[in-house]
Subunit: 409 residues, 2 copies
């Protein structure tokens, strides 16, 4: 008799973004003529860079001829892409990595979820709150979270990040073995300075914990003092795994490419206290349960780092960050409190008049036809906030700000 993994049954049946989609769809049915502006899900809207398009066409052509055809590639990715990543994303900031420490994948979401395979089911986990739901949900499935009580999981340490503490998470008071950090942050759009990040690396070093560092939004950093990689902090290579993605950097949400850095020094221990290095385990995991990322996709990702690619990608990021700036200024002019949006494509808006997240979400949808994401969907400390994304079309973004300004008066 096959037995089900009952941890799955603890998950609430709906996913935040499905709930939102349902509300938006019902509104569309009853108001078919209203132009809805979507600032909810963090999907990009601008096309791929011409350099990427060119590289992918070339790669497709290679697949058309026996002499240049590519079959199975290395599960961990092609050296041409790994070397390019190391040179451009790490050597440029003074971080040296070996090629065997970088693993190309089909996206940061897969890796953030699958990395848990390497660790025992009874490690304790800590997350900043609000938080990207995948970190927690993938741990629920693995049985690491206890039970769902009053909007939180009993075995998860939630570390509040709110306006009150300037969105700077305090070190946990309870022991955590695995800590998820995402900076620039999704959903709040806030960042950590090197000094703040250093506290976390030192905590992990002192407590033999592992930091899962999601830096999917690092390309949006404008302030030269904000770290792009956790490996800018001394000692981080012993305790941190870093997840990166081309989704937001280069509009690859539909193309699917990311990478994960597992330094050779990162380790966990056996029950007997023997130290085991995770790099080889991740390689083994990927060789067994993954078969590499599309060759065409990897050639596209490589082109992101060509001189033309870099310039084109920078222009698109500027386009989104210009949206973010206008949104921030426009909303602040209405008297709203707005966080983030300076080094990230996300704005974290305090709801006015003490409205709940869902209530403000509904008002924006029903009265000005704007889709946002209720902050409480990201965790209890998200209550009283909304997330808006700057990934929209520029004109739509201006219109959305105008609608809100008009409505707030």
């Amino acid at each position: 008799m096959a037995l089900v993994n009952e941890h799955f049954l603890k998950l609430q049946s709906n996913y935040l973004f499905s709930d939102i989609a349902k509300k938006v769809n019902s509104f569309k049915v009853t108001h078919p003529k209203q132009k809805i502006i979507r600032m909810g899900i963090g999907d990009v809207t601008q096309p791929l860079a011409p350099a990427v398009i060119e590289a992918m066409h070339k790669a497709v052509d290679e697949m058309a001829s026996r002499e240049t055809f590519h079959g199975y590639g290395p599960e961990q990715g092609y050296p041409f892409l790994i070397d390019t990543i190391i040179k451009n994303d790490y050597e440029s900031i003074g971080v040296s990595l070996e090629p065997s420490e970088v693993f190309i994948s089909d996206g940061a979401k897969s890796d953030c979820g699958n990395i848990g395979d390497l660790l025992r089911h009874d490690n304790s986990i800590g997350v900043t709150d609000p938080v990207y739901p995948v970190y927690i949900d993938s741990n629920v499935m693995a049985g690491r979270t206890g039970t769902w009580e009053n909007g939180t999981w009993s075995d998860v340490v939630y570390i509040p990040c709110t306006a009150e503490n300037k969105f700077i998470p305090e070190l946990p008071s309870r022991r955590v073995d695995i800590i998820y950090l995402c900076y620039p942050n999704n959903p709040t759009g806030t960042t950590l300075t090197k000094e703040e990040l250093k506290k976390w690396v030192n905590y992990a070093l002192a407590n033999d914990a592992i930091i899962m560092y999601d830096s999917a939004y690092e390309a949006y950093i404008q302030d030269p003092n904000i770290p792009h990689s956790i490996y800018e902090i001394k000692g981080a290579k012993k305790v941190a795994i870093e997840f990166r993605s081309f989704s937001k950097t280069a509009g690859f949400t539909g193309v699917r490419c990311g990478y994960t850095v597992v330094p050779k020094e990162v380790s966990a221990t056996t029950l007997k206290g023997e130290r085991v290095f995770l790099n080889k385990l991740w390689l083994r995991r990927q060789c067994t349960k993954f078969n590499g990322t599309s060759y065409i996709t990897q050639r596209g990702a490589e082109a992101v780092y060509s001189p033309e690619g870099k310039e084109q990608v920078r222009q698109t990021i500027n386009y989104y960050m210009n949206n973010a700036r206008l949104m921030k200024e426009g909303l602040e002019a209405c008297g709203l409190q707005v966080y983030g949006g300076e080094n990230a494509p996300y704005l974290w808006v305090k709801t006015p008049d003490g409205l709940s997240s869902w209530k403000f979400f509904e008002k924006l949808l029903y009265e000005v036809y704007i889709v946002s994401t209720p902050g409480v969907g990201f965790g209890p400390s998200g209550e009283g906030y909304l997330r808006l994304t700057a990934f929209g079309d520029h004109k739509d973004t201006l219109e959305a700000i105008q609608r809100i300004q008009h409505w707030m008066r």
Copy 2:
């Protein structure tokens, strides 16, 4: 203190194909002038079908313009591909499926490995022996296999498939909750008739077991009496999950696309005996730990089913199956016993003179410069056999047969 998943440490440090690669590389270093012919790893060599190339170019172009750009797609795949698959691969053989029962992925290997997420760690597993290593290794990682003793895992039921039983697996004598079946079989190249497959479906129905049915090679079936899908067997929708891939069907080993069918009726039970349907759990798993397959790849896969695509893909399969036929005839003419190769791109060759798998592998490598795969690498019942693949270039295949024939005289 982060604790490692110690089940990973039970895995032997090397993977079969890495061991082979090492031996081949050492030989190349010492014999740089010898032309090695590779018939080991099951990778294709022929280019993608022109219809697929055309569709992928078109999809790349769509990504270049804001109006036709595709960002995040549905995690379970685009309806255009799901509907095409159902119509062509299932309705054509009298099997009806709902769109929500088909999940597009980046390949059968990922899904065969990840499907274990849905099931408890203490289900017992059964495999035909020899077997594709991924089924077992992914279960080792999840803690379902016990300990490694004398070449087998203590908690795995191995069901021998050898020349003695005509490669027809007997129903297991010990209870198994999850059974992996792969037909046409990798590595033996043999098939099961509907009657044989029916025994397994009935076993699963009677024992409330789940069959993981890998039909990645179904496109190679020539005999009209061999089932293409397990759902051709009555009752299978209650007990079987089917894995398919475009890798071998259409040369997608470097493009990465497959799909998994999880019928709504397939279920497992809780410890209390409540029945839980796996379709929704797989959707939840994929939505949490996967972000969909590349849009460009999915458009390429769709083109496999166009009239031109079908014809082009059929020609390539004929090319490989012609290799298989010539290999089989050529090797049999040397007095070797050869199985498979009639409805599958794999030939399973009995080693002559009672040689061990590795000994015959080494002889072929060192004396005729041909790379094969030692049968014992696929399990204890593979000892005394070698796997050869028909995916090579036609001329190389002819040369390989001639080399072996000359050497055997």
